[in-house]
């Protein structure tokens, strides 16, 4: 009996293995299964979530097995470097070049090392919060206080997406009150729970957070030690405007809009422009991957977006669908990198 069970399982497994092989789309230049490694080690985070959504949609479109593996950026780069056939792809976000700009260990210049693949989604949730009983009600008050000699401690995870908004705040203080920018101090913490904890402990005045992770905290009554308020969302107002109207949890999109860059909050980039930061997700390819495969994936993803279903899935999870072909993405992210490089360099002068 046991033997029979065993052999049926094997047969079933073998059948599973062979089934997709028979159904390969004829023009698919990638033979075999596809593995998508992501730059984050967490399966609870937005990178995994966005990658799962796009991988699922792509797998259906090109009729292949696609598996998302949360290996973290360093292992992901290694895996990607080994397989030029397109069987291993990577998904990451702006951290890829920000880590490099901030001089983090292990972050090489992605434009040199890899081919930038298509972008597909934006997470508009990155933001900054204060405790509900904070003396500062909005971003202006925080920047003015820093400009007038008050020390403001901002809890961030250094070296990337979490720091870029802090850099912008510092830059804003520098523009309005030259020489006072050092009153804004970074409190270097790690995960979201560490940042929240820093706020509860009174170690930080402002923390980096996100709509997804902190929305419920903003709805707590003011006398709760854990209660917080948003003061700024770094995404462009026009980006947030594209989000699901229901927003997140019980906070509607319109309520969130008041914290958006350029609408409720003004953080200047330089004399003319406002600073904004959209966290965008995109593919990274092995440099040796053939143009044929790049074109195939561009086309396949374009079709996925043309079908329109994946947009709904993204919106449901508070992502903003945002498709660019590989070439477009390459150009877009280079420009984005250059503009952030400027303010980071200004501060280090």
């Amino acid at each position: 009996m046991k033997k029979i069970l065993q052999s049926t399982t094997i047969l079933m497994a073998a059948a599973c293995a062979l089934a997709p092989a028979a159904a390969y789309a004829l023009d698919n230049p990638i033979r075999g299964n596809i593995r998508v490694v992501i730059g984050s080690k967490s399966t609870g985070g937005d990178t995994y979530q966005a990658s799962s959504i796009i991988a699922e949609a792509l797998a259906q479109k090109i009729d292949a097995n696609i598996k998302v593996d949360a290996v973290g950026f360093s292992a992901a780069y290694q895996a990607l470097g080994r397989v030029p056939t397109g069987n291993t792809l990577m998904i990451f976000h702006d951290q890829a070049y920000l880590g490099n700009l901030y001089g983090q260990k292990g972050y090489e210049d992605p434009f040199k090392e890899w081919t930038i693949g298509p972008s597909f989604a934006t997470n508009p949730g990155n933001g900054y919060l204060v405790p509900k009983n904070s003396p500062y009600k909005n971003m202006d008050e925080i920047l003015n206080a820093a400009g007038n000699g008050k020390t403001i401690r901002v809890a961030i995870q250094p070296g990337g997406v979490s720091e870029i908004g802090y850099t912008a705040m510092k830059n804003a203080v520098r523009l309005a009150y030259p020489g006072q920018e050092d009153n804004l101090v970074a409190l270097n913490t790690g995960s979201q729970s560490d940042k929240n904890q820093a706020l509860f402990d009174g170690l930080a005045d402002v923390i980096n957070g996100s709509v997804q992770a902190n929305e419920q905290y903003t709805r707590l009554p003011a006398d709760d030690q854990k209660a917080m308020n948003f003061v700024w969302l770094t995404a462009k107002a026009s980006t947030i405007a594209k989000a699901n109207p229901n927003g997140m949890g019980e906070t509607s999109r319109d309520q969130l809009m008041q914290y958006a860059s350029g609408l409720g909050v003004n953080i200047p980039m330089d004399a003319e422009n406002n600073f904004t930061f959209d966290k965008e997700f995109y593919f990274l390819y092995n440099k040796r991957m053939s143009p044929e495969v790049i074109e195939f994936l561009d086309k396949a993803l374009a079709e996925v977006f043309a079908d329109g279903k994946v947009q709904e899935t993204f919106k449901k999870s508070f992502f903003i669908p945002n498709f660019r072909t590989s070439a477009e993405a390459q150009k877009h992210f280079k420009e984005k990198r250059d503009s952030y490089a400027k303010i980071i360099n200004n501060l280090h002068k």
Partner: protein, 501 residues
Amino acid sequence: MEFLELLSPSFFLLAAAGSIIGIIFGAIPGMTATMAVAVCLPLTYTLGLQEGLALLLGLYVGGISGGLVPAVLLNIPGTPSSITTTFDGYPMAQRGEAERALKTCIVASLFGGTFSAIVLFFFAPVLADFAIKFSYVEKFLMIFFAMSVIASLSKNILMGVFSGLLGVLLSLIGTYDVSNGGNGEYRLMAPFMEPYLAYGFSLLPVLIGLFGISTIIEEAEKGAREPSLENKVNLNKGKPFRFNIFKGQFSNLMRSSSIGTFIGMLPGIGGSAASILAYTQQKNFSKHPEKLGKGEPEGLVASESANNGLTGGALIPLLSLGIPGDSTTAVLIGAFTLQGLQVGPLFIGENIDTWFSMITALMFANIVMFIVMFYAIRHIAKVVLIPKFILYPIIVMMCAVGAYAINYGIMFDVWTLFLFGVAGWIFTKIGIEIAPLVIGFILGSSAEVYFVKSLESYGEYSILFTKSPIAMVLWGLIVLSIVVSVMIHRKSKQHANKEAK
């Protein structure tokens, strides 16, 4: 009650299936509860939230419990938190009491699991508010407290502490991780190691390397001979299991389950600390502490009720703060995000049906785990009868699968397995003690973060003592724990001397 409508037969079926699959994952050396939850996470897409959660919670409970099987039978912790189960479980199995040991573990697991589910149900929000009173300082002291077990666990205090510190040092190799609050700089390694060791050695490969692979190397050195007929482990020779084993163990059960639940509740302490701490405390409170580590059921009771106590505990910050309490719940949170559901301080109030169904799944999974394991264990225990020449290659193979899969496919983790297998084999020969080393390794990196961050944020050493009443209480416990373990060492030395005379 509306939630009752959500409880379809398939809900219970999935919780039971989860529990059973989890047990199998936990029972295979190298596969863990976290892995079981991770591999089934994508399934929750199609299953929907309630049923997806039933499956995952079943996997969680089953996986944590299944880890006791190889810990007892093979001296390999099936899941990192069952490391303390090996201390007494394996010696018992060697005496032919495998079934008795396993059943003791299973009953303790059921108690711990149920206890924590009840605590979760009644006290989650209150306890979460208490948990956020633990800042860097208090968390460091909790880690330090757990580390004090090294003093009582080692055969020779000097060598034991040395081994523990060595473990801590090994855990620091790599970057000072940015996602834990570090500065992302490398330390303790040569440039050629950078591509492999950016995140340092992973826990699971180190653990199964030190316990599993090194045992196989040792056996190979001895010729991998099958035991002769009269030395063969006889499953019927040892004492049978009776429930009266638990007589006088009630305080142990309560204490260990509470410790497990409490450690689970503190984000960033790590699940393995739970059973380690519970084991230390049992050793300190025990009437004959010198027997622990040589095959005493009370050690099993402490270890297993604590690591199942962890399950409910780790769900407390997840569901009432949105912050996972251990590595498995960190994966579990993915089930919520994939469904577009937020977990945070208002989760329970706004999703009361989901909340009730989760508790139901948790309780049910515990019961299934108990029934399945308690009655199947006679057969599982026969693993020890499989000849070595069949068993060992399979263990190596499964360890390789587990090591490769633990971080979703990293080859270096497999090499770590071999590296630490060889290291473990050499260590035992030169007097370095494995158990303290592993404990140092498990707790080392969190000890660093919380210690350095305490000093960095407050700028004075005295903060470690004066931060809060909680800190002072913890210091009291640490001192007590160390004093008691030194006394135990003295006592057992005198004992040994007396016997020698």
